[in-house]
Symmetry: C2
Subunit: 464 residues, 2 copies
């Protein structure tokens, strides 16, 4: 098979393995149980039509292949699978920094939802452009998005060369219109942009979409062969409130309405309790929880019970949440914060190793999007989403432990080159498919209109 | 007064104010109580012989001054006071990533202290060079250091143009030699490098230096007019252990031996209890706690009781701790983690505002080093330690809130220019006074020797 692109002289993270259940209790010598991250020094990656064809020692690459391909020399760099952001609201870059140091209810009711009344299609395009550019520059090649006016987001993804799983958000307060639009969007865009776009149904949350609509959602998802991307058990207080009002947890609601059976990305799940495992485990092959740790710190929530989910075999992905909560779309940072906070939560420095953190941000996050067979590893047959990071930076040296460096020392600015489907979308730290200068200027000019809440209206009321 | 350097067209963070005690309980409208960070748009900074002479709107700068000075155009950038790292062990860059995912006792007894047996003067020079370069590139202009062979560190600081408060570390197990060397070092280097170097006494900790030596330490500190930089109450278990063994907390030990009266930087203090406030508050003018939040997450400790200390009027500085614990020397990251984790610890999103976080990393950290009258603000009479950051990056845009951007969105790589004492030490993101290429190569070549623990020895036993 002839290859069109070859990356040479890289240290290649070919893949990770998920750690064993209960691994901190296993003997320390059993390093494999703690998860593995395999790095192959001075290797080359051959790419054919967007797919990884082979991974070989650079010295063993056929000179004929080298002569016929575009060659990217990655000497001094590490090649990692494209990072996957399992939960965000990309256009909300427009609200980055607009609702700071406030409790969750105020964040929704006094800031974000009143401002979202002002939203125009143009704002969504601009916000999505900025978000996709920011993510590509940070090595985030795929993201699971959840927002309004999703056609505009899909167009940006198609044009930019990025990959995304997109969902059109709705509330039951919109009547039948929102859910119909979400289903129609999911059907129309699934597989678009040469397969870079996949879709999901986008009910907002178990507290803003009623059970009948969730049942209809699950039916649409099954019919279309897509998953459901939904906020649920976002905080322990939501779980308590659901139990008090209805006698069931948000996760049981997802189960009883058929959402789990259809397959789901559960955003946050910080309020998932042990009893919920009986609803989740039967669908462990198609249900994942997207954990956005930085946001739980900022909004003073508890953390996703990552350890309980891990031990039960439930996939956990890394997410940023929207940039109005997180303030960045940096999956490297989100992975780092998640891994560190987990150690503190369990008062156990041996829990959530760097290899495990890398597995969460690559293989498990790919699996969360239902794309575990084609994303999250640099191996033959996987799609060629590859990120090169410069290891020669002072803050990464000297090099004792590459996995630890990628989890605890690296910065998004160390990303030099990004390929999606074998296409170079970032080169020398700059976007090749987008120029954000005008986007940023136009967004800043829009801020007075966007943030004006004198109309006194809101798109929804937060009272979960 | 003629100025030699002028920074023009910057948004200038002239200074911060410390929030009121108990501020989350005050009315939300009382924004001043939540701490302020004053940004002046399109301002210029005039510098004379290392000192800030004036801060003026760019349009009001005297053309004669402009003609006679070196002019740095900071259009599109924010100028912030040089960041201060209040606790590190800079040469430990050499051990970055060498002791991962292990509990504290193992970190000391099985990894770090056996490796430190191998330490040579050359290692310390190389490790300090890498550390100082990494910090300057990240806008960290001052750091409080605590390590062995401190003469080598002082030479690196002098040569690099950085600023530091240096202490030579000792244990009581070294007999009288360690303390004598620390006092001699503190005396010899205090005020060196045109005042960029100041010093402290460097007892390792309340559990490795006995009371008689701490009393002698305090005496040296008073005699020399320097502070004591010491690890104390590093974890709640240390406090419990001290109470069980001796009936006193580590902070009371510092009080009873005269260390607090002499003035102290207490590293970590995560085990400080409410009763300790009676020992700390009488010396609030000269005692500070250096909080290194990222490390407490990684080592699964509890957090410094920042809120209790704040409400009691005790200064809290931001520290990274050594790079073998933190994996970076990035004060922007440490400030971010501290601010986020504090919100979670208190389950209060309104606590530790971005303005407060900036105050901790600038004014309070400067005060922790005993330099609050000359560092931590961009105002006439302060030393000209100034950092410029590029605001035109996608991850910082659009701009709703500059304080939030600096705490929650910024990256160390956004630093373009760094001045210490008015001298440009980083320009266009590159060091002007150091080339680290050979340093990094030599350090990596040293790793096999550094990490060899076949000798079976250790420099000390961790059993606090």
């Amino acid at each position: 098979m002839t290859v069109d692109t070859i990356i040479t002289h890289a240290t290649v993270l070919t893949g990770t393995t998920r750690p064993a259940a209960g691994y901190p209790a296993l003997p320390a010598e059993d390093t494999a149980a703690r998860g593995t991250a395999t790095f192959l020094p001075d290797h080359a990656i051959g790419i054919t039509a967007g797919e990884i064809a082979w991974v070989l020692p650079t010295g063993e690459v056929d000179p004929v292949d080298l002569a016929g391909a575009t060659v990217l020399d990655a000497g001094g760099q590490v090649a990692v699978p494209g990072l996957v952001n399992t939960h965000t609201h990309s256009p909300m870059t427009m609200f980055r920094g607009s609702a700071e140091d406030v409790p969750t209810a105020s964040w929704f009711n006094e800031h974000i939802w009143p401002m979202e009344v002002n939203l125009t299609e143009r704002d969504v395009t601009l916000g999505a452009r900025l978000a996709v550019g920011e993510m590509l520059l940070a090595g985030v090649t795929s993201f699971a998005d959840h927002y309004f006016m999703a056609d505009r987001i899909a167009e940006v993804v198609a044009d930019s060369g990025a990959r995304a799983l997109l969902a059109s958000t709705y509330f039951s307060s919109q009547g039948t219109e929102g859910i119909a639009r979400s289903a129609e969007f999911a059907e129309r865009w699934n597989g678009a942009a040469d397969g870079r776009i996949t879709t999901a149904m986008g009910p907002h949350a178990t507290y803003t979409v009623d059970d009948a609509d969730l049942e209809a959602t699950a039916e649409h998802a099954r019919r279309l062969g897509v998953r459901v991307h939904v906020h649920a058990a976002e905080s322990m207080s939501q779980t308590r409130s659901s139990l008090a009002r209805r006698g069931v947890t948000p996760v049981q609601v997802l189960h009883d309405t058929g959402v789990l059976e259809a397959g789901a990305i559960i955003a946050h799940g910080t309020g998932i309790i042990e009893d919920d495992l009986r609803w989740l485990t039967p669908f462990a092959d198609r249900v994942a929880v997207a954990s956005c740790s930085k946001v739980y710190l900022k909004h003073a929530h508890s953390e996703t019970p990552v350890r309980m989910l891990h031990d039960a075999g439930i996939t956990v992905g890394v997410g940023t949440d929207g940039p109005a909560s997180n303030n960045t779309l940096d999956v490297l940072e989100s992975m780092r914060v998640l891994s560190l906070v987990q150690k503190m939560v369990h008062a156990d420095a041996t829990w959530l190793t760097s290899a495990h953190a890398l597995d969460l941000a690559t293989r498990q996050s790919a699996a969360a999007l239902g794309l575990g067979d084609r994303l999250g590893a640099i191996q033959p047959g996987f799609r060629a989403d590859v990120v090169l990071l410069d290891l020669d930076k002072p803050h990464l040296q000297p090099m004792h432990d590459l996995a630890a460096a990628l989890v605890l020392s690296v910065r998004a600015s160390d990303v030099t080159t990004v390929l999606v489907e074998g296409r170079v979308v970032v080169r020398d730290g700059a976007l090749t498919t987008m120029d954000l200068t005008d986007t940023i200027a136009e967004l800043n000019a829009r801020l007075p209109g966007l943030t004006d809440t004198a109309h006194g209206r809101t798109i929804q009321d937060y009272a979960p």
